[in-house]
């Protein structure tokens, strides 16, 4: 019985001009967004891979020089493009792509795509995720708002019920029919996405990536199911088709436009973040005066000197078998990194809290759930950008540490002229950042996963509860 209704719904929908027109438009937008996104992904990936290679070559071929000079000369870390980021740009356009790695300074990632664009980028980009998250629900609403209300108005609902089938069966049949028709628009785009992923990875598709893609599909399938069943239920409960359309559009505006903005703003106003200037100033102050405010840098320097002299059992730095400047610089590096990390963790905490307001709103709002999950799985969310920044800082520290240690052991204090062998640069490994694993993506987005699960159950319940709707 369900299949009969589904088939009828599917047939009538495919013959419907409204469906052909709007469905065709959405399919076209998906195609444009996919190809456009992939083209920009390819060129960015090429650029960055090339830049990273060049940075590495420059680093390796900088010639013989004092190791600390090499640490000042520095290098660059570029954030690799995630394989699925062409599907969902996430916050990629606004996060930095490029960190300058040098001694003594923890630089922020710079050069976001937004910096290179006009300010119009703030109004959003045409990505597949945007079409799927914002426009497809709108298409669903326009197709389903009168799915039952129209049948009520035309008396065909009574006719159907008089043939001896239940209301919830009709609703399930309709949901099935709409899903089937919608698949004609969505599935080709998703197939193309998969092909583009294959092209992007040159065929070497990892299990991790495959799982990410599968979970993304699942998340969107649930999202569309929620909108379809919600539309059918509201169509059944509304007094008229007009009311059903108005209620559904209201829900769309609330879920896809107002709530995401509002929760983000509420998060930012509850958890105030200091400005970049304040952040840098606080770090500087702690470096000068000590993290507890009672241990200024000159005092720390004296204490270190005493300790090192005692360790080597000598009276002055000139008698040391090692380079004290290098030891002092490394200690300074260690201290500033500790201070930086303390402040960075504090900032991260604040941003985390700001984002959590929006993240928890996923329980009420399936749009937020699918948005967070989608960009998390695509590796284009804030957490991935943060992981890159942390990885780059760790890499920078280890790079400087290696060079300082080398300088400590091969030269004496005050000898800034002695040059290290060029082979030392190869001791620093390639910069090789990997996106957080899929398990960490899922554990970070547990609210979204839970929310989608709750919504599925709620929708099933709502559809099954359609027994007692008023027919007169």
């Amino acid at each position: 019985m369900k299949k009969i209704i589904a088939n009828k719904e599917y047939t009538t929908l495919l013959r419907d001009k409204r469906f052909k027109l709007m469905g065709g438009l959405i399919a076209f937008l998906l195609l444009v967004a996919l190809l456009g996104g992939f083209a920009s992904y390819r060129s960015l990936k090429k650029e960055r891979d090339l830049a990273q290679k060049e940075a590495r070559e420059t680093w390796l071929n900088q010639g013989e020089k004092n190791p600390h000079s090499a640490a000042h000369y520095g290098s660059f870390a570029l954030r690799p493009k995630s394989e699925m980021s062409f599907f969902d740009f996430g916050v990629d356009s606004f996060t930095g792509t490029n960190v300058y790695l040098e001694a003594h300074r923890q630089n922020d990632p710079k050069f976001s795509a937004a910096q290179d664009s006009s300010s119009l980028i703030r109004f959003g980009e045409m990505t597949v995720a945007f079409v799927l998250q914002m426009l497809v629900p709108l298409l669903i609403i326009f197709l389903c708002f009168n799915s039952i209300s129209q049948e009520k108005e035309d008396n065909t609902l009574k006719l159907m019920l008089s043939q001896g089938i239940s209301m919830s069966l009709i609703a399930w049949g309709k949901i099935q029919g709409f899903s089937k028709a919608l698949a004609w628009i969505i599935v080709p785009a998703l197939l193309l996405t998969f092909i583009l992923i294959l092209i992007g990875t040159e065929g070497s598709l990892s299990a991790d990536l495959l799982l990410r893609f599968a979970l993304t599909l699942l998340a969107y399938a649930v999202y569309f199911f929620v909108f379809i069943s919600l539309s059918v239920v509201i169509s059944a409960r509304a007094g008229s088709s007009r009311n059903a359309l108005l209620s559904l559009l209201g829900i769309w505006v609330l879920a896809c436009v107002i709530l995401p903005k509002a929760t983000t703003n509420i998060g930012a106003s509850i958890f105030k973040a200091p400005s970049n200037f304040e952040f840098r100033e606080a770090i500087h102050k702690d470096e000068e005066n000590g993290i507890d405010g009672h241990n200024p840098s000159d005092k720390r320097f004296e204490a270190l000197k005493k300790q090192v002299l005692a360790q080597y059992k000598v009276d002055s730095v000139e008698q040391l078998p090692v380079n004290f400047d290098a030891i002092a610089m490394q200690e300074g590096e260690k201290y500033s990194t500790m201070v930086y990390n303390k402040h960075f963790d504090r900032m991260e905490n604040i941003y985390q809290n700001q984002n959590s307001v929006a993240a928890y709103s996923a329980i009420l709002n399936p749009f937020m759930a699918v948005r967070n999950l989608s960009m998390g799985l695509a590796g284009s969310d804030y957490k991935t950008a943060l992981a890159f920044q942390k990885y780059a800082e760790k890499y920078r520290y280890e790079m400087v540490e290696t060079l300082n240690t080398h300088m400590r052991d091969f030269s004496k204090t005050g000898d800034w002229e002695k040059k290290a062998d060029a082979g030392i640069y190869a001791k620093i490994p390639d910069f090789d950042f990997k996106n957080p694993s899929i398990t960490s993506v899922l554990s970070q987005n547990w609210v979204a996963l839970l929310a989608l699960l709750i919504w599925v159950f709620m929708c099933i319940k709502m559809v099954s509860n359609l027994k007692n709707i008023s027919l007169s």
Binding site: M1, I5, K8, T12, N155, K158, L159, S162, G164, S472
Partner: protein, 231 residues
């Protein structure tokens, strides 16, 4: 067989249907006359199970509608006042859809013969219903009822808006169905049609079945007079 025992429906203070007692036997056509709001549609909706009665019971073939709503639907067919159907489907496809919902799987030829029997011209069978006139849609509705081979037929002002010829054809089909043993309950405003096709005629006023007349024993003019006196 359609049977109402003390069938009552109240909405708050208002009584839509007051203790209706009515039995329509196999092969009998019963016409319900009355003004809008007299309780005709309420009666039909109670038999369809779309309205839960406040008191009493409606039953079809001795099965209570309130208790076995889905089972009683097997025995009944229903034609609403305006049959809108699905404009993007053809006449045959519409008929096929509703018949298969009731559990029948007819071939194209059988479906076509039901439509012809209901009086729909052959050329229209494979055209989309969007281009049909009201009378043509009504005929598809009749075909849906015929195809169900129901024991009881419920009609809510089926001839309103039909031209006299279509209306006359409709009466013919009703008589034929009754001859084959179907119990027919028809709510109508058309006094002359009621007198012509029905075996018995009931007049309703404010939820009460005021009088029941044998159609053979009254002329159309007398029926009109009685109707005007009653309401």
């Amino acid at each position: 067989m359609l049977q109402a025992k003390n069938l009552t429906k109240t909405y708050g203070e208002q009584t839509a249907l007051n203790s209706l007692n009515l039995t329509i036997n196999e092969g009998e056509i019963f016409a319900l006359l009355g003004q809008n709001g007299a309780g005709k549609t309420t009666t039909i909706n109670c038999f369809l199970g779309f309205i839960q009665p406040s008191g009493g019971s409606a039953s079809i073939n001795d099965v209570s509608v309130a208790e076995n709503a889905l089972e009683t639907k097997k025995y009944l067919a229903y034609i609403p006042e305006t049959v809108m159907l699905y404009p993007n489907l053809t006449g045959i496809e519409n008929l096929e859809f509703f018949s298969s919902l009731a559990g029948f799987s007819y071939g194209k030829d059988e479906l076509s013969s039901f439509l012809s029997k209901a009086g729909l011209q052959n050329t229209a069978h494979n055209q989309r219903v969007g281009g049909y006139s009201k009378g043509m849609r009504q005929k598809v509705g009749i075909a849906i009822a015929i195809a169900k081979k129901a024991k009881a037929l419920l009609l809510d002002e089926p001839t309103s808006g039909l031209d006299p010829k279509a209306s006359n054809e409709f009466s013919e089909i009703l008589r034929e169905l009754a001859q084959n043993g179907t119990a027919v309950l028809m709510a109508t405003h058309d006094i002359f049609r009621a007198k012509e096709v029905a075996n018995r005629i009931g007049i309703m006023k404010e939820g009460n079945l005021v009088s029941v007349i044998d159609a053979k024993e009254i002329s159309a003019n007398e029926l009109e007079k009685l109707y005007l006196q009653t309401v």
